[in-house]
Each structure stands twice: as structure tokens, then as C-alpha cells.
Symmetry: C2
Subunit: 208 residues, 2 copies
């Protein structure tokens, strides 16, 4: 880490838990505001007025509106990954882990599209413009898949010839139409049958 790291704003809360709490408060208020009025149409000034902080005060915690949007997205995408991890932990075999990982993530993302469309649209922007939380999300999915494939290699359920990173990339790439909020919105009618058939194909490709 460079010497300048300590001078840079970050979300580790160097000014103590208070800063953390205020950041969370801004994110929660922004989330509610964006949910109602949309991200694109809201300015930081609107947001400041709505949540009763000055614009300057908000800028003490976030560099830009996008930084607030990124924090909301990150929270939403992280909760999807957490849920997938829980569901995987309960599955008995790596084959079942793979099935549940994708069915859970796709169900959660589909639910977001129907119940919180404005936040879903924010996630679409994040993925289309490759914001850091979207890149981190993809990275988490690669890691989850790699972990399941390794488990399956250990139990003898999956083949061991193909390079692990190639397999993980190909699997996430193949499921991307249903994983990415950008393309999922155009393919909601095909859920859950088509993604299930695709996972079945992936599992056939993994057979030893």
C-alpha cells in the first residue's frame, strides 16, 4: 500500500464509527430517494434537500452522485452473493451447489427487477458502465464457481483436465445472460426453464 493511502477518502471509516454511520445513513436515504424518483433524474442537491443534509456535507462523504449509486449497488449485489453462499453451504453435493447457486442468484435478481425497479435500473447502469461494484460482483461469481468446481474435483464428480480459471470464466460467461441485470431484463420470460437447461449443460460439460 502506498504512503498516500491514509490521506485518501475510503469506506473503512478512519474517522471512527460515526463516519460509517453517517455514510450508511446517506446511502439508506439515497436508496429510498432513488427508488422513488430514479437515479438519473436525481441530483445531489435534490438528495441533500430530501434527506436534510447540505450538499457540501454529502460531498464530505461521497465524491459524486455515482459514488452514492455505487454504494447502493454494492450493497444490493453483495446481498445477492451472501444469499448464494448461504444456499450453497446447505447443498449436499457440488452438482447441487452449482444448481442452487444459479437458481438463487437468478431468482434474487429477477425479484429485484419486479420489486425495486429503480434500484434494478441502477444495477443495469453499473453493469453497462462497468462500475467497480459490478466488476467486484463478477469477481465474486467467478470465485463461487471456482470453489464449487474444486469441491467437485475433490469428490470426483467433476473432470480435472481443464484449467480451473478457464472453466470458471466459461461457466460465468455462459450464464451471463441471466446473471447480468443488463440482459436479464430482456429474458425474464425464459426464467427459470432456460437457465436450468443451461446449468444442466454446464454440469454435463463437467462430467469426468
Amino acid at each position: 500500500m502506498s504512503d498516500t493511502a491514509n490521506d485518501m477518502p475510503n469506506d473503512a471509516g478512519q474517522r471512527g464509527p460515526t463516519e460509517h454511520a453517517i455514510r450508511d445513513q446517506i446511502v439508506a436515504a439515497a436508496n429510498e430517494h432513488f427508488s422513488r424518483y430514479g437515479y438519473g433524474k436525481t441530483t445531489v442537491s435534490d438528495l441533500a434537500t430530501a434527506i436534510g443534509f447540505s450538499k457540501a456535507y454529502i460531498y464530505k462523504f461521497f465524491d459524486s452522485k455515482q459514488a452514492i449509486g455505487e454504494a447502493i449497488c454494492a450493497a444490493s449485489l453483495t446481498s445477492i452473493v451472501r444469499h448464494a453462499e448461504e444456499v450453497i453451504a446447505d447443498a449436499k453435493t457440488p452438482t447441487e451447489q452449482m444448481r442452487r447457486m444459479f437458481s438463487t442468484i437468478i431468482a434474487d435478481t429477477t425479484r429485484l427487477a419486479f420489486t425495486d425497479r429503480k434500484v434494478y435500473d441502477l444495477a443495469v447502469t453499473a453493469c453497462a458502465e462497468r462500475w467497480p461494484p459490478a466488476a467486484a460482483y463478477l469477481e465474486s461469481l467467478h470465485e463461487l464457481v471456482a470453489r464449487i468446481v474444486m469441491d467437485g474435483r475433490r469428490t470426483g464428480e467433476f473432470e480435472r483436465k481443464t484449467a480451473l480459471d478457464e472453466i470458471s470464466r466459461a461457466i460465468v460467461g455462459a450464464m451471463l445472460t441471466f446473471l447480468s441485470p443488463v440482459s436479464l431484463q430482456y429474458n425474464l420470460d425464459d426464467v427459470p426453464r432456460l437457465p436450468n437447461e443451461m446449468v444442466a449443460m454446464i454440469l454435463r460439460s463437467l462430467s469426468p
Copy 2:
């Protein structure tokens, strides 16, 4: 066919080859106009002025601006499918057919994104809004894949247990991120490595 079919406008050129020629002329002129000014910003009036026909005359051949857009899209997508068919015909094995089918289609679509962005954007709209030519395109891709899988079953290169339509759907579904102009535009940096790795995974899934 119903009795009313003869009264309906269609593109089979019932008023003789002249109608066909005029339709083609309108499509070609519209294609050039859209390429320069974009589909969204052009009205049928603009188009009429630009190509020297009256608006009423254009409406004799096309119901709406979208109908003209659909004809342009259909021509573009059909030429991609034709090229894939040619390339498949030259391939020695079904495995090689599968590889070439996807590499050719993805290369052609990527080229369209870079060389004729306005028509590419029209294809994005067509796919996002599921216009008939986009649905027909998907259908052609399913048929191409099904034909290759049947060939591979005949030669013994591919497994025969899974239902053919399920396999074709899963394969096209898995490649959709790179086949659909909607999502390809966000994943151009991953071409050709990731789609190649995905096709390799699909071929592993097909092994007997």
C-alpha cells in the same frame, strides 16, 4: 392460407417485380439515411424528403418507420446467418462446424458494431424489443445448432441422450451474451477469448 391473404400488403411482390424493386430501393435509401443520422432521430417525413418519394408513397410499401427498420435489420441478420451457413459447409467435422459457426457470427456482429454503428444500434433495438426479425434470427441460430448437433450424433462425435431441442436452446442461450447485439456491445473486450472458451465448454458437454 386465408382468403384475405391476397388483400394484405406483403413482401412477396404480388404487384409484380416493380413493387419488390421499389421496396428494395426504399430499404437501401433508408439504410443509408439511418446509417448517417440514426434510426431514432429520423422520421418517415425526413426519409421521404431525403430519398425523393412522398411520405404517402412510402406508406404504400411500409406500414410504419419500424417496418422499414425491421426490413433493414432482417437483411443484416440474414446476411450473418448466410455467412455462418457457408462457413459451416466448409468445416470437416461437427466439432469444427460448432466452433466456426460461433466465431463467424460473433466476428460479423462485432464488425457491424465497429463499422456501421447506427445499423448496429437498430439491431440492438430490434433485439431488446423482440421485433420479428430478431425472433427469426434466434430461430435460425437454433436451427443451425440443431443441425450441427444432429450431424455430430450421426458421426458419433456427440452424445445422444439429451433432447435435441433442449440442447439447442441451452447452447444458443449460453452464447447469447455474445450473439445478441444488446449484450455484445458491453462485452466486446472479451472477444474472442471468452466465447472460444465457452464453445470449448459446450463441446465438452456434447461429448458422448
